[in-house]
């Protein structure tokens, strides 16, 4: 129980940082999405049940502040978590570069999945793609920069809470 709780608190911090950044960047028409960071560490390094709980709780946190059906982010984060968890033994998951690469792939996939879920409300869907691609580009850059810092925060938080998970499922 302690591991999902500690991971959830780090996800809460992440949401706060990105929400403040998005608020500050609204004037320059940039919006950052960090969905990949909500899932990556839990899926790569934590036993399934604990990591899955943390990812879903992080998804529910994102759902509560977004005008989408409640559970959309949670379902997508849960599915992404299950997919990455199944692949993790084939990856060099102790390497920061590999973790960052996983985050970037996850982030782009989740961004496109949420776009697919929300774009039907837009009257002229073709016109929104430049903005969406711009947001995706900036998000990938921000996530690549923030990922090493955020992984360190998660590791350190788990150590401080004496909740370092075992590496096996």
């Amino acid at each position: 129980m302690r591991v999902p709780l500690v991971l959830f608190l780090t996800l809460y911090l992440l949401r706060t940082v990105f929400a403040e950044a998005n608020s500050a960047l609204s004037g320059v028409h940039v919006w950052l999405f960090a969905g990949g960071l909500f899932v990556a560490y839990s899926a790569l390094m934590v036993p399934f049940q604990q990591g899955f709980a943390a990812s879903v709780l992080g998804g529910l946190l994102c759902d509560s502040v977004a005008p989408v059906p409640f559970g959309t982010h949670a379902a997508l984060f849960g599915a992404a978590h299950a997919a990455v968890y199944n692949l993790r033994e084939r990856l060099q998951r102790d390497e920061t570069a590999v973790r960052v690469a996983v985050v970037l792939v996850l982030n782009a996939a989740l961004f496109l999945a949420i776009t697919a879920a929300t774009i039907r409300h837009v009257p002229a869907a073709a016109t929104v793609w430049p903005r969406l691609l711009s947001d995706l580009g900036w998000s990938q850059a921000a996530v690549a920069l923030a990922a090493p810092w955020f992984f360190a925060i998660q590791v350190r938080s788990l150590e401080l809470a004496r909740a370092v998970p075992s590496r096996s499922a």
Partner: protein, 279 residues
Amino acid sequence: MRIGRSQRFDQARPFLTLGLAFAVWLVAPVFVRTLARASFFEMTAPIAAAASYLSDLQQFWALRLHSKPELIEAGRDLARVDASYALSVQQNSALEAEVTRLQGLLGMPPTAHFRFEHARVAERDFSGWWQRMVIRKGADYAIPVGAPVVYSGGIVGRVSEVHAYTSVVQLISDPGLRIAAVVEGDTRPLSYQGAENQVFGPARGVIEFVPLDVYANASEPKVLSTSGLGGVYPPGLTIGRIVHVESSEDGLFKTGEVELDPRLADLTEVTVLVPSNPG
């Protein structure tokens, strides 16, 4: 053979858990989901509000750096504006009394009255998917869902969610928002919807059911304002400028583009129009 099955089960276990979680979520009662959403939102609200108060404090200390002559000058300018507004208020009172008298004579229903609730913006969330902001007033100030939100440049949007001490405002640039509107100097209603949030430049909306004799372009734009139909938004509030119109596919009406005020992206304070009983 037994090991192979075991490995396959291990590989499928994450997806079985995922399927189970989906199933539990699908059968969960609505009140559980509503409660969960409200609880998670209220978890995020203190941070947004605290950051907003800190920003206000920062601005306060920055303003304290102004010299006394600058403040005296600003106070003098403000007194002049205040005097002209005081005169407008007097004229407005006389006009309101006249309108009430005429409504009584003609037996018309009274026009909507609003209480003005000024609120600071705590958080802005302007993505390509949605456009909304969180303001620092909610159920504690009796803000209702659906109330119109305005600023000095016209309409901002409508209150879409009300929480304990914050509310969420859906902006007019949000693709999910539709408003009945009229072109300046015309009374025929048309439909406005938020649409495109550009990479560079202000957000845009689209209009439909535009009468065929309405013309506008970027060099000669026309002002689009609320029609008052539907009873949510009072009439005459500016939405934006029509910068392009063209015939629709059926040829019965025109469609067009509306450029919204760029100040919408940087708002720090808005006013919620809370409906109240006349008189």
